[in-house]
């Protein structure tokens, strides 16, 4: 046997396997998107954009997902911090609760929301006393989006907080910093890449939310028909409109994920990658 043959066999097969798996998976993921993009020209997409139905859906999607993401961030970060830094009775239950929307089929989630916040539900009746009704309203859309997007924020945020060097948090404490000060001046800045990833994921999830929205909030152009719902409706009668809307959604989601994921990791604190740094 030649020296090359002695050296190569095992690593070669493993490398081949990894290459094959990657090609298969990436091809599988890319093909539907490429198929969509090939189906329609940019001109057609722009032409469809002018239609009121599309503009309504676009505006609605934008407003609701921004609002939903904001709610998820404001409510989710403290919960993530608590989960990452404390033990308390019932912590297991909280963890499961926070993850639940991710494993629930969206339509089931929408139905559950209806049971809770619909006219006859406990929450619904309480809100009705305040004059707020959720089903069939834009607010209901936001609620559905928040419900489904929470795990996508809390998960990455918690992991990010948990990976903070506890010595830094201890050091802050010995430097007279109360927990809130440490949170805002040490934890938040250092966890930022992970938090932004969470924002991107929950934002994208809100943008693409369909099942819970249509079941809980209904489907009315201008009020509750977000982009995904508009695509669904268009699919049934106007295929070209459906493709144009889908491409639009695709571009928005792509931009969101790309933008929020690539910016911070490289520039923060002069480290190229947390893992690349030797400690």
């Amino acid at each position: 046997m030649t020296e090359a043959a002695i050296r190569s066999p095992r690593p070669s097969l493993a490398r081949f396997g990894v290459l094959a798996a990657s090609t298969l998976l990436l091809g599988f993921l890319a093909l539907p998107f490429i198929g969509l993009l090939l189906r329609v020209s940019p001109g057609e997409v722009l032409a469809r954009l002018a239609r009121p139905v599309v503009i309504d859906a676009l505006r609605l999607s934008f407003i609701t997902s921004v609002a939903a993401t904001a709610v998820v961030v404001v409510l989710g970060i403290p919960v993530a911090w608590l989960l990452a830094t404390r033990e308390f009775p019932g912590k297991r239950v909280v963890e499961v609760l926070v993850d639940l929307p991710m494993v629930l089929p969206p339509t089931v989630a929408g139905f559950a929301l209806l049971m809770a916040f619909g006219r006859a539900g406990l929450g619904g009746r309480a809100l009705a006393a305040l004059g707020i009704s959720l089903p069939f309203t834009t607010l209901g859309v936001v609620v559905a989006q928040v419900f489904m997007a929470v795990p996508f924020m809390v998960g990455p945020a918690r992991a990010s907080f948990a990976s903070l060097d506890p010595k830094l948090l201890d050091a802050a404490a010995t430097l007279r910093a109360r927990e809130t000060f440490t949170f805002f001046h040490v934890a938040l800045p250092l966890a930022m890449p992970g938090l932004l990833a969470g924002v991107a994921m929950s934002g994208a999830r809100s943008l693409g939310e369909f099942g819970a929205t249509i079941t809980f909030a209904g489907n009315l152009p201008g009020t509750t028909q977000t982009m995904p719902l508009a695509v669904y409706v268009a699919l049934q009668s106007d295929l070209d409109a459906a493709v144009a809307l889908s491409v639009l959604l695709l571009v928005m989601a792509f931009g969101l994920l790309l933008g929020l994921r690539s910016a911070p990791a490289g520039s923060f604190w002069g480290r190229r990658d947390a893992r690349a740094q030797s400690r």
């Binding site: 830094l168 201890d170 050091a171 430097l175 007279r176 109360r178 740094q277």
Partner: protein, 369 residues
């Protein structure tokens, strides 16, 4: 003035310690890893709550299990500098130093003044705008020290601050820190596993073994009468374990002997038998180029392995000998040049039977000291 008395469960053993440190005093805490030093420090810092005990700082109650009372870390005037620097990577050196001042809402002008002064004090004013990853290990430690002292703590805790540095940086910064500590008015607890550091920093040394204080005293106390094998080993005295064999009539008077794996030693009279540890202080060992004929009962021949000048100024030199058993002798610089001692040279090391100290296990006082 720090008064501490704590007891707490620590893994497989109990931590039980009692110590007092006066203002301006530096107490050195010494012990193996896992002996409880870092735990003790965390209790002092307010990061860990012990099960029982009391910690009082300047009359203020920091911890009392009876009341109960517990002052959390951020309310204690304590400064901590650890082995891993724990500088905030996203802040510049100056911002790191100013961190605590910001946390206590010090007004901006005062903050700037004190930060600049602290940086100046540690000689790193020029590095103010750099981020930690742009600083060397030594520079980072200086920032950490500046960050701690800018808050004028009443208690300063240093947990093996230089162990991660290379020898040269270590020597340089150690000298500066020594000077700095002399000027500070706070009580300082300095943890180290380096004998050289312990000897150069500690007026008072406290030894922790398996959670218990095995010895407290000045370096002279410890070197004169080490109470445990660990203390002896730590200070670099020659420590051996062997079997005590009963007195035998040999020459003038009764003598006892210790049988070591590598040979036998004659020691001063003592009763009993069995496994024992003994110590030979390096100072007791005399070196000669020819076999001595005097009263010394223990003579060993071997080659010199290493000559290490002792800090701080190398007046005394430690000589490692490849004898059986291996010995460390301490001689003057003059002796070294007089005998032209160098690695590889064969010499005779000798010491009297009376110079051998029998050491008890921890807690037991030594015999024949």
């Amino acid at each position: 003035m720090l008064e501490l008395k704590v007891a707490s469960r620590l893994g497989t053993f109990e931590l039980e310690a009692e110590l007092d440190v006066a203002d301006g005093e530096v107490m050195v805490l010494v012990g193996e890893s896992g002996s409880g030093k870092s735990t003790l420090l965390r209790c002092l810092a307010g990061l860990l709550r012990p099960e029982r005990g009391r910690i009082v700082m300047d009359g203020a109650l920091w911890f009392d299990s009876e009341r109960p009372a517990w002052l959390p870390a951020h309310e204690r005037r304590v400064g901590v500098v650890g082995q891993d620097v724990a500088l905030f990577p996203h802040l510049t050196a100056a911002e790191n130093v100013a961190f605590g001042l910001r946390a206590q809402r010090t007004p901006a002008t005062e903050r700037r003044r004190r930060t600049a002064a602290a940086l100046e004090r540690l000689g790193i004013a020029a590095l103010a705008a750099r981020k930690p990853h742009q600083l060397s290990g030594g520079q980072q430690q200086r920032v950490a020290i500046a960050r701690a002292i800018v808050l004028e703590p009443r208690l300063l805790l240093l947990d093996e601050p230089f162990s991660a540095l290379d020898a040269a940086s270590r020597r340089a910064i150690r000298a500066e820190l020594r000077k700095l500590l002399d000027e500070l008015e706070c009580a300082t607890v300095y943890v180290t596993h380096s004998p050289a550091e312990a000897l150069s920093f500690g007026e008072c040394i406290i030894v922790l073994e398996a959670g218990r204080v095995s010895q407290v005293g000045t370096r002279e106390d410890l070197m004169r009468s080490p109470r445990s094998p660990y203390v002896a080993e730590f200070l670099g005295v020659n420590l051996f374990r062997g079997t005590l064999t009963g007195p035998e009539p040999r020459g003038a008077g009764d003598r006892a002997r210790i049988a070591l794996p590598q040979g036998e030693l004659a020691i001063a009279e003592r009763g009993g038998s069995g496994d024992t540890a003994i110590v030979v202080r390096p100072r007791e060992i005399t070196l000669a180029l020819e076999r001595p004929t005097g009263t010394a009962r223990n003579v060993f021949e071997g080659a010199i392995e290493e000559l290490v000048p002792e800090p701080p100024d190398g007046e005394l030199v430690r000589v490692s000998l490849a004898t059986q058993p291996p010995l460390i002798a301490e001689v003057t610089r003059q002796a070294v040049s007089a005998l032209a001692l160098a690695p590889g040279r064969r010499v005779f090391a000798s010491f009297k039977a009376a110079g051998v100290i029998v050491v008890g296990e921890q807690g037991e006082p030594p015999l024949g000291a």
